[in-house]
Amino acid sequence: MNEHVNELLMFQIGARVFASTVRDVVRIGNVAEAAPGTLIEGTSLGATFARERGVVVAGEAAGTEATLVVDQVLGVRSVPDSQLLPLPAFVTAVIPASAVSGLVLLEDAPTLVVDLPALVRERLAAPPAHPPPPHATA
């Protein structure tokens, strides 16, 4: 029996690489073309340095969109279920509201899988953890 395969979008914020399920992504966009007030940055994932790309996801309200500012979109990886791992129970107990839903083992290195809708909710509910640089425009 073939193992279920998950499509994961790989992206980079700062020096770190993250993954998220492709079905949460509406499209990849250009930060400069995003509508004012729709950019999501300064999240708990860290600070961007290039702010070149945007991962567009559905917003909280129907018909709206939010754009997570990232430094690079690295592509899509097909990953079998066996490479997806849940967060340890102690981690979910200590960080109950984390936008990280689990980890994916890529070349034996654990990479965080981000729940993009949860990240958008987290960011809209709290001030930026990593404020954008002064030259950044929203």
């Binding site: 770190r16 999240t43 708990s44 994932l45 860290g46 791992l85 849940p86 967060l87 340890p88 129970a89 102690f90 981690v91 979910t92 107990a93 200590v94 960080i95 109950p96 509201a97 984390s98 936008a99 990280v100 980890l103 083992l105 034996d108 290195a109 654990p110 990479t111 965080l112 953890a129």
Partner: protein, 170 residues
């Protein structure tokens, strides 16, 4: 990797480990010698590449994978406010089971198993701050003083301190 054998300065296997003795797992943290109940230790492993977690408290520097399992890393030094334990390529961790939690406790060095006769265990100092808050006893062997940690209580304190009052879950 299994836990190292008993310290040669403590009672070696066969000479101690009677009903009058207690087994502890001893490690060095920020210049001190600490121990906790040996049965809590599942194994000793070399720390793999650490993945840091967003919004994690300082005592949880990240997670790593070991035999396909993701293990959280606990920095006891950070938890009790005594400083950060440096993580190096050679860092090893004691994988422990504390109630429902399985985690990897890092240290500056692992000494391994020691046997301490119950009669040599003394009450902890009356201090209630830092590491002293989590001590269940103090013992001495030929290498010096060993502070015995109540690890389950320390892990539970970590969990409760990280979760804001009124938060769901946990």
């Amino acid at each position: 990797m299994s836990p190292p054998g008993p310290s040669s300065d403590a009672h070696p296997i066969g000479h101690g480990a009677t009903g009058q003795d207690a087994w502890f797992f001893c490690l060095r943290i920020l210049g001190g010698r600490y121990a906790f109940e040996a049965p809590l230790v599942v194994e000793v492993v070399r720390l793999g590449p650490l993945t840091r977690l967003p919004a994690a408290p300082a005592f949880l520097p990240g997670v790593f994978t070991h035999r396909g399992e993701v293990l959280p890393v606990l920095d006891i030094g950070q938890l009790v406010g005594q400083g950060t334990i440096a993580i190096r390529a050679s860092t090893r961790a004691a994988v422990v089971h504390c109630g429902p939690w399985k985690l990897a406790v890092i240290s500056d060095g692992l000494e391994g198993l020691v046997v301490i006769p119950h009669r040599h265990l003394e009450p902890p100092p009356a201090e209630s701050s830092g590491m002293a808050e989590f001590l269940s006893g103090v013992a001495r062997d030929r290498q010096g003083t060993i502070a015995v940690l109540d690890l389950p209580r320390l892990v539970e304190a970590a969990r409760s301190r990280a979760v804001p009052a009124g938060s769901a879950g946990a």
